[in-house]
Amino acid sequence: MKKTVRRFLALAMTFAMLGASAESSEVTIPRELYEQYKKIQTLLEIEKIVEENYYEEVDVETLLDGAAAGMLNSLEDPYTFYYTADAYSEYMEHQSGEYAGIGIQISTSYITRLSTISRVFAGSPAEEADVHRGDILYQVEDVIVTPETIQDAVNIMRGTPGTTVQVTFIRGEEMLEKTVLRAKINMNRVESCMLEGDVGYIRLWEFAGTCAQQFEEMLNSLMEQGMKGLILDLRDNPGGLVNDAVSIGDLFLDEGILTYIEYRDGTRHDYTTTDGSVDIPLVIMVNENSASCSELLTGALRDRLGSRVVGVNSFGKGVVQYLLPVDVKGNAMQLTIAQYFTPNGTAVHHVGIAPDRVVELPEGDNGMYMLGDMADAQLAAAWDEMQTILK
């Protein structure tokens, strides 16, 4: 059965080549392909009923896109979904290069269904408009923000520099409606400074772009300044590319496994680090928004170096996705294909990483601090932890 399923594309395409020469009003297709088509008979029936009877005109593409989206939604995995060709090309455009927007990073919970501002970029219009970390993004123009509409909301906020966008936030019990300017946003994904007592501090916001290279440069610069220990801050880091996590992990690790992923059939693939590492004590900071690659890197450094972890339990996204086109029209899907584990074989999905030292931000503290500000209670605790190690 499975074999047959896999062959779908091949079968369909084989026929496409044959079909070109067919002129009669009948077509002959392999039985195997015909059997595949039988699976969608009910859908075709529904489509016909709708086309004939629905009280308004319905576009068949809408129905087919809906079917594809519904098929993937039925898996009830928030990371598996369908992109229409339009949505996909839009998404790809946004991935390349800079963007114009209002300068916020958003974290969406599929459980509470809320989208929370996890970062306001320095010098951005959002900062100018007094948007705070922890504010809930409620509405963008006429779109009420939910996990389903967040991409639409983001698309609306992006646009031509100099234009404005109407955004409503919820802070406490208050609704704050703001008109925010769009501008070119400089997303600095890595920031660093030297703290008191020659303790280096690097904050990594996302595993994307040139972050691995920037990270290495900053690490070297801190080493040159005589750093004795490093605090690696992965709070609010939603993850990104596995390869960036591997490159950054490799800076601290000798030869060995950084993480491994396991497919449904139990086969496993290892991501490995190579020889040659910076040998320096590490304290890692995580919070409830540290996800995916952040957890993978934290798990590896803790398992293999015994790095201390400070903060609050991390998000718990321990699954890996592919993004891939599904046809020549440009429709695409994102699919969860594997689970990953720390080198010691600990699962992260739905669990997260529990810190060695739990430090929550005091109630009402939105965590908006300047880089390296020791008034930040979690950072202060991490620094304290480092002092213990250095002694």
Binding site: R6, R7, F8, L9, A12, M13, S25, E26, T28, P30, Q36, K39, I40, T42, L43, I46, I49, V50, Y54, Y55, E56, V60, L64, A68, A69, M71, L72, S74, L75, M92, Q95, Q105, S107, T108, E206, P238, G240, L241, V242, N243, I261, Y263, R264, H269, A291, S292, F315, V320, Y322, L323, L324, P325, V326, D327, V328, K329, N331, M333, T336, I337
Partner: protein, 415 residues
């Protein structure tokens, strides 16, 4: 071959959605290896072929993308999948995509249950719930007399907040209802919101008999008839109740359609016909502009009518109200009705007992008034005073709206 190469090169595309996505470069093989190597092998089935019409083939080919997704998921998803569930999900998604809250798919179990509901007897807790798709809130609009919900003090206007571990929204209401139903004498934990306060109750399921029609004489001359829903045998029950009221001397009738969400149009038709001679009850308009008229036949009960409606009176309630307002000189009292002026058809699909509901037409009152998104405007606007949740015994004249209807009827009968 060309197409496969294109796909492979696109695969190098990188993913990094804000919600944390990772792209391991390896593993690509597991998705496309088979497709690539089996292009040649694909013709292995040569000789074993099926001939179909070009038209049918064109229809089927539209689903290549969906079948491709199905194949990719079955091969690569990180957990076991069930093909039937995926195809069912596609059916839900297809009808969902239309964006009409009244058009949807029923899987075989849901479809069977839908028919059971119509019969009016089930194991449950005995509440009628109204879901608002805009606020997503689900409000209790009635507790059946003698039901566990009534016994537990559930009140009209309470918001259904949580059933066991399911948070109730318009989207999850079906799941919640499914949980509340079950074997009599078993318990279910239900949380309501009342004035912002959470009220948790453990309700014991019982066999619920849904009484959809109730009637009483308000005095020697004025009959009162409540229709809660157009379902099951309500049309027969309506006839019996009406005849009974007439036998008891009713010279005028107050018809209460408040909180009646609608139901089968045929029931509304037969009820309307009781008060109408030959003519139009309502007409529907299809997408091609064609119309279909529903006619009443001769022989009517001729008596003054007052109809009570509120913001939850919808669909068949509005058909009945519209017909009697336009043609039987009924006076409408209460609050602007819901405004659901579209009609659905329910049909089975496939071979496994699944079904679907589909909006097929808009309807209009005999005078050509549109109801959809508008509702029916009462002749006498009369809302419940603020803070009055409208929980009264059937026929209790302390109910301000009923009292108003009664007053209007008295005036009417003087003429």
């Amino acid at each position: 071959m060309k197409k496969i190469l294109l796909v492979l090169s696109l695969l190098l595309v990188i993913s990094m959605l804000s919600s944390c996505t990772a792209l391991p470069v390896m593993g690509l093989r597991s998705i496309y290896r088979d497709a690539a190597t089996e292009t040649a092998a694909g013709t292995a089935a040569e000789g074993d072929t099926v001939t179909i019409s070009a038209e049918e083939y064109e229809d089927l080919r539209k689903y290549d993308t969906l079948l491709q997704i199905l194949a990719i998921v079955e091969e690569n998803y990180y957990q076991d999948v069930d093909e039937g569930d995926l195809l069912e999900g596609a059916a839900y998604g297809m009808l969902d995509a239309i964006g009409d809250p009244y058009t949807f798919y029923y899987n075989p179990e849901e479809f069977e249950e839908m028919w059971e509901d119509d019969e009016g007897e089930y194991g449950g807790v005995g509440m009628l719930i109204s879901a608002n798709y805009e606020t997503q809130l689900c409000t209790i609009i009635r507790t059946f007399s003698g039901s566990p919900a009534e016994a537990a003090g559930v009140m009209r206007g309470d918001i259904l907040y949580k059933v066991e571990d399911v948070y109730v929204t318009a989207d999850t209401l079906n799941d919640a209802v499914e949980i509340m139903r079950g074997t009599p004498d078993t318990d279910v934990k239900v949380t309501f919101l009342r004035d912002g306060e959470e009220i948790e109750k453990v309700l014991t399921r019982a066999t619920i008999t849904v009484n959809r029609v109730e009637a009483a004489m308000l005095d020697d001359e004025i009959g009162y008839l409540v229709i809660y829903e157009f379902a099951g045998d309500c049309a027969d029950k309506f006839d019996e109740a009406l005849d009974d009221l007439i036998a008891k001397g009713a010279k005028g009738l107050i018809l209460d359609l408040r909180d009646n969400p609608g139901g089968w149009v045929s029931d509304a038709e037969s009820m309307a016909d009781r008060f109408l001679d030959e003519g139009v009850i309502y007409y529907t308009e299809y997408k091609d502009g064609s119309r279909q008229y529903s006619y009443s036949v001769d022989g009517k009960v001729d008596m003054p009518l007052v109809i009570l409606i509120n913001e939850n009176s919808a669909s068949s309630s509005e058909i009945l109200t519209g017909a009697l307002k336009d043609r039987a000189d009924a006076t409408v009292v209460g609050v602007q009705s819901y405004g659901k002026g579209i009609i659905q058809a329910v049909t089975g699909v496939g071979t496994e007992g699944a079904g679907m509901q589909l909006t097929i037409a808009q309807y209009f009152t005999p005078n050509g008034n549109k109801v959809h998104s508008i509702g029916i405007t009462p002749d006498v606007e009369y809302a419940l005073p603020e803070g009055d949740p409208g929980i009264y015994e059937m026929g209790d004249l302390k109910d301000p709206q009923l009292a108003k209807a009664y007053e209007v009827m008295q005036e009417k009968m003087k003429k």
